[in-house]
């Protein structure tokens, strides 16, 4: 019990023990909390940034990959055509081909041997036999199947189709045997029908390549000796088929238009000192201000746009959208009476001297409708959502050229509104964003809201601080 008293006394006494910390402790705590705050901010910003960057990077990567594959396939097929033509030429004249050719190298010899070997094999094999050529650049990765069949003419028969797997890409050609080395099928021994060799190049490629390779079909033709079925002249022609993957390789054009509202964020009263009534008007009806009034509120009014649009698919779900359009925007505000209809040189705030065509007194006796006319080139990144691809959202920037405007600038010097085109900033820049939805995946029409916000001040430096914004319900009609 006595022991408990010791502990109890100790506890009671120590409970009241307090020491005031120095001010540095709170400063350090506060600094650490600020760091935490910044870290938390990054905690949110970083994943979003990473996601956006990854998405953009993936889109660009896919775009570049498709482009690269297309170029590679074209190059490979170009090489293939050259090789095949050389091979065919040599096959036409096998006796003279090697000696005549200055550039005849081991490569050509191997090719001839390859062809001869194939012919020999045709005699020995009833079914399709396979070899792997190593000298042909176009077929370095390809698997060549040779088949020998008894035929009565050179009617094209696609052997590869028989052997084709569901995901194989087949480029097939037929090479007639050289004239002086008639080949007979082992099946048709004793028969004199010419034997047609079919080379089926079977390749398993990823889907993207498959699509591109599918567009090129190598077929045989007797272009130099079409009159003779037994001719050894076998040339190869590459004919691009009409099948093209839509939207991925070309721009899809269309039209768009929207109707909505527009307004102005007016920061003019912020950051400007209260001006004394010291302004003067030279050339106007009077050198002294006729009325001092406060700036009226700018109200939203109608806006619309109309133009052409073009979109290009850069990956499965991503598009680049651009175009050219006319944008009309308007606002309303109350003003007083017209003071001057001629040119006036005005000391305007801290902007400097301006030449104003028209001025109005402050007040609310009339409603002034401000109109803005822009020519815009939106540059947007659009992402389609969902399997049905009925919904998409987009964002981007819109460089704009101000064609004309009758916007008024309020001068606190004398409480008047002035209209002066020289104060307007003609090069404008808007941030865009919006949504699109369409009734079906095949629909050419889509509709959705779009918002634009002016990044730059509508007036030039030191003028009133106003930023224009618009919101429209936009209808888009694409040609494809």
């Amino acid at each position: 019990m006595a022991d408990n008293n010791f502990e109890t006394n100790m506890h009671r006494q120590m409970e009241d023990f307090k020491i005031s910390p120095s001010g540095e402790v709170w400063q350090k705590v506060e600094e650490q909390l600020q760091k935490d705050k910044r870290r938390r901010r990054w905690f949110f910003i970083l994943p979003i940034t990473i996601l956006l960057t990854a998405g953009l990077g993936f889109g660009i990567y896919q775009w570049g990959k498709n482009k690269g594959i297309a170029e590679t396939v074209v190059q490979q097929n170009h090489n293939a055509i050259i090789d095949k033509k050389e091979q065919s030429a040599e096959s036409n004249n096998p006796a003279t081909a090697l000696p005549k050719s200055n550039t005849s190298t081991a490569k050509h010899s191997i090719k001839n041997e390859f062809i001869k070997k194939n012919e020999d094999e045709r005699e020995q094999q009833k079914s399709v036999s396979s070899v792997k050529p190593s000298n042909n650049t176009a077929t370095q990765k390809l698997f060549v199947k040779l088949s020998s069949e008894k035929k009565t003419n050179t009617t094209e028969k696609n052997v590869a189709h028989k052997q084709k797997k569901s995901d194989d890409v087949v480029v097939h050609t037929k090479i007639a045997p050289p004239a002086n080395t008639p080949v007979k099928s082992s099946i048709s021994k004793g028969e004199s029908e010419p034997v047609k060799t079919e080379i089926a190049i079977v390749e398993t490629k990823p889907t993207v390549e498959q699509e591109l390779v599918n567009n090129i079909k190598i077929i045989s033709s007797d272009s130099t000796s079409s009159s003779s079925n037994t001719s050894s002249d076998s040339s190869i022609v590459v004919k691009p088929t009409n099948k093209k993957s839509p939207n991925k390789t070309k721009w899809n054009m269309g039209f768009e238009g929207g109707v909505g509202f527009s307004g102005v964020n007016n920061y003019s009263n912020a950051g400007f000192p209260a001006y004394s009534n010291s302004g003067s008007i030279a050339g106007g009806p009077g050198n002294l201000p006729v009325a001092i009034g406060s700036e009226s509120k700018i109200k939203s009014a109608v806006s619309f746009n109309l133009g052409v649009t073009a979109s290009k698919k850069i990956s499965k779900q991503n598009f680049i959208v651009t175009g050219l359009r006319y944008q009309f925007a308007s606002t309303k505000r109350n003003i007083g009476v017209a003071v001057n209809s001629g040119n006036a040189s005005v000391q305007f705030r801290d902007y400097g001297t301006i030449n104003a065509q028209t001025s109005f007194s402050g007040g609310d006796t009339a409603t002034y409708k401000t109109k803005y006319h822009f020519l815009q080139v939106p540059i947007l990144f659009e992402h389609v959502v969902g399997k049905k691809q009925l919904f998409s959202y987009y964002a981007g920037v819109t460089p704009s050229l101000l064609l004309s405007s009758n916007a008024l600038a309020f001068n606190k010097n004398d409480g008047r509104y002035y209209r002066s085109a020289e104060m307007h900033r003609n090069a404008q820049f808007f941030l865009n964003g919006g949504f699109n939805c369409k009734p079906s995946i095949k629909s050419k029409f889509s509709i959705g809201p779009e918002f634009n916000y002016g990044v730059l001040n509508f007036f030039k430096q030191n003028g009133p601080q106003q930023r224009l914004f618009t919101g429209t319900l936009k209808l888009r009609w694409m040609l494809q």
């Binding site: 006595a2 022991d3 008293n5 010791f6 502990e7 006394n9 100790m10 506890h11 006494q13 120590m14 009241d16 023990f17 307090k18 020491i19 005031s20 910390p21 120095s22 540095e24 402790v25 709170w26 350090k28 705590v29 506060e30 650490q32 909390l33 935490d36 705050k37």
Partner: protein
């Protein structure tokens, strides 16, 4: 609270003095105590969203401060030797129960003069009221070790208190 600097400062002002008193008892210098206090308050602000409003806020903050002090002692190299305990036999319990005539500050200074291991266990048991089982879990030692260390600390402290009672105001303890 998390993003409100004013509220954070108010909380700090309300509890900083008491909490520094706690930190002071576990450390050997005021600077160390302030380091623990700073670290403890940062933990408090970070953990506030997890506070369930069960019990007093002061008690919750006190627990955080004590845990912070223990972790701090474990991390500090100069205290690690003192904080390593041998599994000793129980020390005979002293029957002394001296009247504590010391002022709080003087008593706290006496506690701080104990070796770190004794000091910590004494604070946890005599002041904070933790059982030896709890102390054993907190410090990673056995219950018997905690008990024996506490008895050593207690005897030592009683000796000092008695000495102080007989020779008052002869020793000045620094912070």
């Amino acid at each position: 609270m998390r993003g409100n600097a004013t509220a954070q400062k108010q909380l700090y002002d309300a509890f900083a003095d008491t909490m520094l008193g706690i930190c002071y008892r576990y450390t050997k210098s005021l600077a160390d105590a302030e380091d623990v206090l700073q670290e403890g308050f940062i933990k408090v602000y970070r953990s506030l969203p997890n506070y369930r409003h069960e019990g007093e806020l002061g008690g919750w903050i006190r627990t955080i401060m004590v845990n912070t002090a223990l972790n701090w002692l474990k991390k500090k190299k100069e205290y690690q030797y003192d904080m390593s305990f041998l599994n000793e036999q129980l020390h005979p319990v002293a029957d002394d129960n001296p009247e504590i005539k010391l002022r709080t500050k003087e008593l706290a200074e006496l506690i701080r003069q104990l070796p770190s291991g004794y000091q910590t266990i004494f604070n946890l048991h005599a002041v904070e009221g933790f059982t030896h089982v709890e102390i054993g879990k907190m410090m990673g030692i056995s219950e018997s070790t905690s008990r024996s260390q506490y008895m050593r600390a207690r005897n030592l402290l009683i000796l000092w208190i008695e000495k102080h009672n007989t020779e008052p105001q002869t020793k000045v303890y620094g912070g």
